[in-house]
Structure formats: C-alpha cells, structure tokens
Symmetry: C2
Subunit: 234 residues, 2 copies
DNA sequence: TATTGTGAATTGGTTCACAGCC
DNA sequence: GGCTGTGAACCAATTCACAATA
C-alpha cells in the first residue's frame, strides 16, 4: 500500500489525456466490454497505441501481456490517479449566461464535480435558483467555500471582473481555478489555474480555415507541393 | 507580394498563443500604448520573452531592434496570419443551455465570429430567438450554412448527438468544427476539429489538487499513504 | 501467440546566448 | 545601449521496435 502516493510525476501531456481514456473506458464498461487492448483504446481515442501504453505505464503495470487491460480495474486506477475517487464540489463565480449554462447543464455533476455554490455581484441575481442551487452574493464567498470545504472555483464573469473573481476565490481558500473569462488572471504560487477561451479556440480554427483557403488559391493558379495536412487537435 | 501567402508553416504551439498575444495587444492599443517590447508582452502573457520573439518571428521580421514592436502593426499582422481580417460566421448546433449561452453572451461576435445560425432537433425550440438569431430546425442546416457561406460549426448538443451533429455539419459543407460535447467525434480528412470538454479541464485540476493534498499529507507525517482528503467530508 | 512495457531514436518545442541592427 | 531575430543547446513528448511474458 505504501509508495502509492506521489510516485513518479506524470507528464502534463499524459495528465491531459487520462480523462479522455477514462471517459472512453467508462463508455466501454457500460457496453459490458470487460477487456481492452492498447490498440483498441488508441483507436477510440484517435491516438497511437504506443502512446496509450506509455501513458498507462505511468500509472503502474496494470495490463496483462498477450491480453490487454481489464476495463473496470483500469477505470479505478485512472480515477485514483486523477483524484476522482470522491466528488469535488465547485463554486461558480458569475451567474450570467455562461454561469447559468455551466450550473444548469448537469455535465459537471455527472462527472464528479457537483456545483456547491454560485455567487454573483449583482443583487438582482442573488436568491434565484439555478440547477437547484441558490445564487448568493459574492461577499458571502468565503462562507460558501468554507462551509462546504470547496477547493475548485470556476470563473464565469465578464473579462474585466475575472481578476477580482480570482482574488476573491483565492482569499476564500480555493486552490484550483478554471477561468472562462477572456482575460488572463494571476494567482499566487500554489494555486492551479486553467483557462478556457472560446474565442481562442475559434481563432485557431480560423487559422487552419484560412490556410486551406490559401492552399486552394495557390493550387488553382500553380501546383505546389504541400503535404495535405489536417489541423485537428487531440 | 505573392510570397506572403502560405509561407513556412507555423508550429501548432505558436498558433495557439497568437490569439493570446492578439488579445493583449488589443487591450494595450486601447490603452493607447503604441509600442511594446517582447519583454513587456511576455510579462502580460505570462511567458518568457524569447518565446514571444520566436513566435512573432514566424510572422516575419516586424520588430525594430532597440525599440520593440509597433502595437497596431503587430495586431494587423497577427490578424492577417490567423485569418481574422474578416469575420467568420459560425453556426451553432444545439439550442440547449450551452448553445443559448454561447449564442447569447456576445463574446463570439465581439471577437470576429458572429453567430450566423442556430439549429436544434427539437421542434419546441425552433422559432425562438436567441441573441437576436432565430432557431431553425436541424433539417434546414444545409440551407443555413450555404445561404450564408458558413465554414465553422459549433457543437453544443448532448454527448450522444455529437457525431450526428458533426456528420450533418460536414454534409452541409462546414470545414471546421468546435465540439463542446463530451464525446469524441470523427470527421473526414480536411475538416479541422477541436474539442473543449469542461469536465476534462476540471479533472486535470483535480489531479493537481490531489497531488497537493498528497504532498501535504506526506510532509506533515513524513510517510503513510493516508487519504489526506478534502471535499465532501462530513 | 498476442500484447504489454520500455529503452532508444526521433520529432517538436522551449530557452539560451549572442550577433546584428536601430 | 537596448532590443530583435535566430542558430545552437536543451528538454519534453511521441513514436519505433523489440524483449519480456501471460
């Protein structure tokens, strides 16, 4: 049992893929698939089999040579590594369009992150019920966070309010932040921050879209080598 | 100026950062900052200055030694490279919580991606107005896409409907897809796909949160596996 | 026999460090 | 003097290829 704890650090790129494998394995488990090879899982995930094996090897040696991986056991191991053996309550800052959608759409709860609180700075929104959770004023953030021992905060405010939201979350004791606002935020060392910017994603697509348009323009005029690449992400 | 077109391929990692620089430069421009050094921009972006210079060097040599970069000119160059010299209409598939939030929150339009259409499979939703756009039935997707020459589609359906949505988008002629559903989708070669999964982001945070908890447990007691846990403890 | 687990090779990305230029 | 642009060095991630083994 000992030594299970901090083991070797897992590369960031692998950490980002484990949730994907987890989702796929869970789907397979529901389809009553009890065993899976790296080749099959790779196919489902759209990656190469060696990568799957290397990724899984960071968890330990949980496969069986000549056979593959036991789905249920692998699900358990990934969950353990990701810290998903228990739910994590999240608090959402900002009860606008996006905050409402996040709180309301149920995907968080289903995947282990129930909404433990929503706060907003606007008194008009305080008191309303979103996805079964009562909106409270941001001045009560400390209380919300501490009463339920929440360590993950989600920022769904307009851009300019994002840093204030982050500061308030940190002051309340939150140690991980998921930022949906378009502005970058800073947080003290020891607080993890991730950012999801919808417009950035679209701009990346725009780049590839544009390149294709240019490539088309170039080939109609004069043929050009160009190894027809695609720009999809993992 | 023919060689301006496809120039050397820009690394994916750089493409993902250009939108961030663009946003920061636009902010600076609005603050009437007309010139910026790689050091300053790096500071704003939270990255290292050499990286900024290398990233920008893929666009061309647009800085001035001893001085820095002219903000307005650099904005123009990044926009040109990303294909943001004109707006790109997007079509949203799925008018549920998330689709409504995306269409309603205005951030898309502001950053060059106005919503050109929303479709849903549910007749009850067809006809309603979201962010000024009338929801249409998914069977009219072809028409919506072709009438307005849309090349980017956003999937905001529940997971199981995502692949159908993708197929419909591709059939309608869309060549870039941003997928918010938790399921992976496949698309033919030549169609770019990006995926944003909110739960995946939270799971990555959970991993780090967990590590910190383990590290704390390890240093407090110098050993023992211990389930140093936070969250919904009673 | 089939498939894992992993060193070695390769590819891609980051950072250093300095020549070149304003 | 100050700051860019970029080879070279470094580091991380991916892929190959095969020995180990159920």
């Amino acid at each position: 049992m000992a030594g299970q704890r901090s083991r070797r650090r897992i590369p960031e790129a692998t950490v980002a893929r484990l949730p994907v494998y987890l989702q796929l394995l869970t789907d397979q488990f529901e389809l009553e698939v009890s065993n899976i090879s790296s080749e099959e899982l790779a196919e489902l995930a759209g990656v190469n089999a060696a990568k799957v094996r290397k990724d899984l090897s960071y968890l330990g040696s949980y496969g069986t040579r000549g056979v593959g991986y036991e789905v249920e056991f692998l699900i358990y191991q990934i969950k353990r590594e990701l810290g998903l053996t228990h739910d994590w309550l999240v608090v959402i800052v900002g009860a606008g369009n996006l905050g409402q959608a996040l709180a309301g759409h149920g995907g968080f709860t289903e995947r282990g992150f129930p909404v433990g609180g929503i706060v907003d700075i606007d008194d008009a929104k305080v008191g309303s019920l979103i996805g079964g959770v009562r909106v409270r004023h941001v001045k009560d953030l400390n209380q919300v966070v501490q009463a339920r021992n929440i360590s993950i905060g989600v920022i769904a405010t307009p851009g300019p309010a994002a840093q204030d939201a982050a500061d308030a979350l940190v002051a309340a004791g939150v140690t991980s932040i998921l930022n949906f606002a378009p502005n970058l935020i800073t947080a003290p060392h020891g607080v993890s921050v991730r950012k999801v910017d919808l417009a950035v994603e679209l701009q990346i697509l725009s780049y590839h879209e544009q390149r294709r348009a240019n490539a088309r323009a170039a080939t109609t005029l004069q043929s050009v080598p160009g190894n027809g690449r695609r720009g999809a992400s993992a």
